[in-house]
């Protein structure tokens, strides 16, 4: 059957009709791309402005704001001075006691430690719920999931009281310990683990493997995508944490990068170039990491979202 046969005689599409249909489709396509481009500009501009602003000299930053021209964005004189300042590599930076390098190191250290310990302990916990036998396991799961309902910001001040009475405030422990287990990660990993066939575990147990052996040699290798997703989520979460490091740690040597940046805005004289540079240091690596790992992350977020 030829395509025309579908139309009754006299109603076959004429050339002018197909042109108008083509025009309509082209208009729709144009609209789609214009709308997409506007969204793109709205999203890219602040980042571009931040990155290009960090590469300007301080005096230049506001010189070209008015009137709006391409100079508003593109530096006249490119400079790495702001980065040298915040990293404490220049005399001015040192005079201000700026040491974002140390803050970045702290943040990386804390995030790394949390991701590592969270991988170990949450994996064990998820294995428990997905595979092991225990009386009242359902009640225990409820106990874990209920902590997810607790809005963390609302218990932050009392958490500080607890951490303080344990004598942990103002230490790396205060930044790491409260986060080494996460109900959300356990819950997500249980979903991933349940998709691994049980026969694999049973075969390993018959071969004489212990629970730990099964976890290490059967479950973990089969759940790598899930583990990567949750590790990424956890990393981003800890790296970007602000309220807790702000109240838990007072000593400057333990400051995280987010707190260091935020405190720059409270000075009487604000050095925006330095703030731009600090913001670039704190965010561009994470954004690049996530764009590279997007496939995993997007899947993980979508999954956790759908399964609640």
């Amino acid at each position: 059957m030829s395509p025309q046969a579908a139309f009754p005689a006299g109603l076959t599409p004429t050339p002018s009709r197909s042109v108008s249909r083509w025009l309509k489709a082209a208009a729709r396509e144009t609209w789609f791309h214009v709308l997409g481009a506007v969204v793109l500009i709205i999203y890219i501009t602040p980042f571009l402005w931040m990155i290009l602003g960090s590469l300007r000299r301080e005096v230049e930053i506001f010189q070209y704001t008015y009137p709006l021209t391409w100079r508003t964005f593109v530096p006249v004189e490119w400079s790495l001075k702001n980065f040298q300042d915040v990293l404490g590599l220049s005399p001015e930076g040192r005079a201000f006691g700026l040491n974002f390098g140390r803050a970045l190191l702290n943040t990386a250290l804390v995030s790394g430690a949390v991701v590592l310990s969270s991988l170990i302990f949450n994996t064990m916990g998820a294995y428990f719920f997905a595979r092991l036998d225990f009386p009242y396991k359902g009640v225990l799961l409820l106990f874990v999931i209920a902590t997810m309902l607790l809005p963390f910001e609302a218990v932050m001040v009392p958490l500080y009281i607890v951490v303080r009475s344990l004598g942990l405030q103002d230490s790396y422990w205060a930044l790491i310990l409260p986060w080494y287990a996460s109900p959300f990660v356990i819950f997500a990993l249980v979903q991933f683990f349940k998709e691994i066939p049980r026969e694999l575990d049973e075969a390993a147990i018959i071969d004489g493997a212990s629970y730990f052996g099964v976890l290490r040699h059967v479950v973990v290798p089969n759940a790598i995508p899930g583990l990567v997703t949750t590790a990424l989520l956890e990393f981003q979460f800890i790296w970007n944490l602000f309220y807790w490091p702000l109240i838990a740690v007072g000593r400057k040597e333990l400051q995280t990068i987010q707190v260091a940046i935020a405190q720059q805005t409270t000075q009487t004289q604000i050095y925006w170039g330095r703030i731009f540079a600090g913001s670039v240091l704190a965010s561009v690596p994470v954004i690049l990491l996530f764009l590279a790992m997007q496939r995993y992350y997007v899947k993980g977020v979508a999954m956790s979202g759908l399964k609640g």
């Binding site: 709308l35 709205i42 302990f121 309902l149 001040v157 607890v162 303080r164 287990a181 805005t265 913001s279």
Partner: protein
Amino acid sequence: MDAVAAREVALPRSWWTARRRGYLLALAFILPAVVNFVIFRYLPIFAAIRSSLWQYSLLGGYGEFIGLQAYLRMLEDPIFWKSLWVTTAYVLMKVPAQIVLSMGLALLLQRESRFTAVVRSAIFAPVVTSIVVISVIWALMYHVQLGLLNSIITSVGLPRIAFLSNPRLALVAIVIMMVWKEIGFSMIILMAGLKGIPDMYFEAARIDGASGWQQFWRITLPLLRRVLMFVVVTQTIFSFQVFVPVYTMTRGGPLDATKVIVYYIYQNGFLFQDMGYAAAISTVTLIVLLVVSAVQMWLLRSEVEY
């Protein structure tokens, strides 16, 4: 017969049965997590309740029992009520705006192409960027004299806008920024939901001559209800806890116009050194949030199957 009797006698003799040993081994796997939750999630709640009922200071610890005084003080504290109202206004503006816009973007960008992939990545970038960086950059974009937004506004001949120093605009400015930041998150969840709707429903509707709008109202929206509810629930809870933009951009001002509840808690606990009062507000906030999330969870239960 003899063999069965022998086993019945043998089993309860030792406490250390194989099954019990299995339980203990299993317990070892969950114990570290449970210890964490007890100390760092459940204990703080009891600490909050306790320190709100006693006179409490960071240096002196627990003092005299004062009962519900902190809570009575809250009832008469106009700034507490103001902060509760500001937070509610924030949630009521932000959540609907974010849901509608992320729904629109999810529909616009669900087609697979290199262009949509780039736009999606751009929308997602602020989600993984820290809220500190975002609000610091936006504070400068909003700046009356130096800001990029005012540069754009004046370049088309309009007067400057004092986004953050005008009490009527400051909260709206924060809402706009936060919607911009968090839209990518809800967009992705909605996109995953859209992917889950079988194509044949739309094909059938098209054959029946349904327009795009009709398809959206009759198919997409009803089938997406569960996912939408999830986004609404989580966004409401997250939004209720907003703190960082207020801390970095406005410090609760101008004229308390942006003094949200968590900022007021922080102010009392760490700036005014009034931990007991801060804990009392935390406790009330916790109860409010638990009630809100319980109601929303209940709404979530009514799911549409497909």
